[in-house]
């Protein structure tokens, strides 16, 4: 069992969720509440990571973050080390390839709120913040929860993009999914098996807990 790979995967998944949670709420809410020209194209762009082969996405991210790119140069000037093949580079890639998993369920969650409920909140004198905090977030929370779980589980399991952008540096960018692959390549099926089982269990618990909580949502009381 490669504990450092497992902890790196969990750390990456946690950070990805922490970054995408507010971002997803903001973008998902904006997309649900507004109609504007070119909205379909924005949505298509945000859904792109769903359909692109991970190697294609990984390739573009690698180019965008490499030492020859403005982003890569800026990062290197600021921190004195390259962005690619670092944990930060991996996190940036992870955030980008998880965008559809985070935003889409949240957008659906906000869209499920009847527009009159928002109108009623305005007529009650609620500010936008109060409406979001007190009315919209509690009502959209099944969508937000499923976004969190999907993002977390998907980050744990992602292989192609991680390999392209992060390489396989132990303790820095070698996640559990890559460690499993390495073990199999080294004919250590026992080690690969244990790590696969651990990943399976973590994913199952996360998704199971989300489904269980969401199924109890409508009966919830609030006093």
């Amino acid at each position: 069992m490669d504990w450092s790979a497992l902890s790196l995967s969990l750390k990456l998944a946690t950070w990805t969720v922490l970054i995408l949670l507010p971002l997803g709420i903001w973008v998902g809410h904006a997309l649900a509440a507004n109609r504007f020209r070119g909205k379909a194209w924005v949505e298509a762009l945000l859904a792109l990571p769903l359909v692109l082969p991970p190697t294609v996405l990984g390739y573009y991210l690698l180019v965008a973050m490499g030492g020859a790119s403005p982003l890569g140069q800026l990062y290197e000037a600021a921190f004195g080390r390259p962005l690619v093949f670092s944990f930060e580079g991996l996190l940036l890639a992870s955030v980008i390839f998880n965008i559809p998993f985070a935003i889409q369920p949240m957008q659906r969650g906000f869209e499920a709120i009847a527009p009159e409920v928002r109108d009623a909140a305005a007529c009650c004198g609620l500010t936008r913040w109060r409406t979001l905090w007190r009315i919209e977030l509690p009502l959209a929370w099944p969508g937000i929860l499923s976004a969190v779980v999907l993002t977390f589980a998907h980050t744990l399991g992602e292989f192609g993009v991680v390999l392209m952008v992060g390489g396989s540096i132990p303790g820095e960018t070698k996640t559990v999914a890559i460690a499993i692959y390495d073990r199999v390549q080294a004919f250590d099926t026992g080690g690969a098996g244990i790590m696969s089982a651990a990943l399976l269990l973590i994913s199952l618990i996360a998704i199971g807990a989300a489904y269980f909580t969401a199924s109890r949502a409508p009966a919830r009381r609030h006093d």
Partner: protein, 390 residues
């Protein structure tokens, strides 16, 4: 008028509007009109949920909206109590918290006390901690009313508040609203497509069609004395015919009109010139069926005779279509109780006599112009004439 609310809204699209309304404190104004006539749009504009191209809204002297000065006060700053058609309660909050959300400016303890009071006022004491899904339709409506009143609004807006409940509950809620409204000191605007509801609950009624306010006035007045043919049709008056003005008798308070070779006495309406073509209407309550076995004195008043061409049973009542002077002309409609029809042996093809009570005969210009703004020209034809019987 600085007290109450004054509304003037105009725009050509996307939803055309040309509406002028006023509602005094304590007054209930019913906005009636068919679906798509712009009733809800007007309410949304008053609440600030929608911005109209032109016009102004003033409430108790404050400008809420003034297109000329690019002024549009946000919905949450307008102090409007809005009861939505489907109530729009916050589904995850208890009745108590739904109401408490509407008075956030108060300290929590005060909010709780007031919420309890308001809920008790709409007869929901004991159900404060239920979420909307655990309340019946009528109870949900009461929570919505309580939430709207909790804000101590400067105007109360009710958007078809009775349409989502069953008939028995509706009758109960009518009574409750009628009681409640005596305590309300703010203008109340009630949107409905149900004329009986408007008649029962409102002080004034405004008929709306395609975003235009056509006529405002006391409900019975609007429903029995429409200013135009369009209003007559919108308030469900089915007996609309053409006639010519023959004479006025100011002493007897009578105007004579000539209709299908009958000379009818109508209530004196001297604003119509002698010789002019007019449209006339009569509410069904002013048509009296002659008893076949026992003629009575009332039969001398505008008696007309004809053949029943259709009997349409509507439960306890029967709608009769009576051909007067030939079946090719539009018939006269009258509604009689089913037992009266049975007792008098009324059926299809039977000849009957009716009296058209002169007090109910109301004259209108032939076209859709209001008589006050545009005098009627003698013999003028209009495009709207196709729908009327001569």
């Amino acid at each position: 008028m600085t007290e109450g609310i004054r509304i003037r809204l105009q725009q050509s699209g996307p939803i055309p509007l040309d509406a002028t309304l006023e509602c005094a404190p304590g007054e209930v104004l019913a906005l009636v009109g068919p679906s798509g006539s712009g009733k809800t749009t007007i309410l949304r504009a008053i609440a600030g949920l929608l911005r109209v191209a032109n016009g102004a809204i003033h409430c108790n002297g404050d400008a809420w909206f003034d297109a000329e000065h690019s002024l549009h006060v946000a919905a949450r700053r307008r102090r409007v109590g809005y009861v939505f058609q489907n109530y729009a309660l916050f589904p995850h909050l208890s009745a108590m918290h739904n109401v408490m959300e509407a008075m956030l400016e108060l300290p929590v303890a005060e909010r709780e006390r007031r919420a309890r009071d308001v809920l008790a006022r709409v007869r929901l004491a004991g159900l404060e901690h239920r979420v909307p899904a655990m309340l019946s339709g009528g109870q949900q409506q009461r929570v919505a009313v309580a939430r709207a009143l909790a804000r101590e609004p400067q105007v109360l807006l009710l958007d078809e508040p009775f349409s989502a409940v069953d008939r028995a509950t509706r009758q109960k809620l009518y009574r409750e609203l009628a009681e409640l409204r005596r305590e309300l000191a703010m203008p109340v605007i009630l949107v409905t497509h149900d004329l009986d509801e408007a008649l029962m609950l409102s002080d004034r009624m405004c008929v709306l069609h395609q975003g235009r306010t056509l006529q405002s006035g006391e409900p019975l007045q609007v429903m029995t004395r429409p200013e135009t043919v369009e209003v007559a049709q919108l308030v469900g008056l089915r007996n609309v015919f053409r006639a010519g003005v023959v004479a006025h008798d100011a002493e007897r308070g009578v105007t004579f009109i000539e209709w299908r070779r009958h000379r009818l006495e109508a209530r004196l309406q001297p604003e119509f010139e002698i010789g002019a073509q007019v449209t006339w209407t009569i509410p069904q309550g002013h048509i009296v069926l002659h008893r076949r076995d026992r003629p009575s004195r009332g039969e001398h008043e505008n008696p007309v005779f004809g053949k029943v061409v259709e009997c349409l049973s509507l439960g306890e009542n029967i709608v009769l279509s009576v051909a007067i002077n030939g079946s090719e002309r539009p018939p006269l409609f009258l509604t009689v109780p089913a037992h009266t029809a049975r007792r008098n042996g009324i059926a299809q093809d039977v000849d009957i006599g009716v009296s058209l009570l002169s007090e109910g005969i109301h004259l209108m210009p032939v076209d859709n112009a209001r008589i006050r703004s545009k005098p009627v020209q003698g013999g003028k034809q209009s495009q709207g004439a196709g729908k009327m019987g001569r």
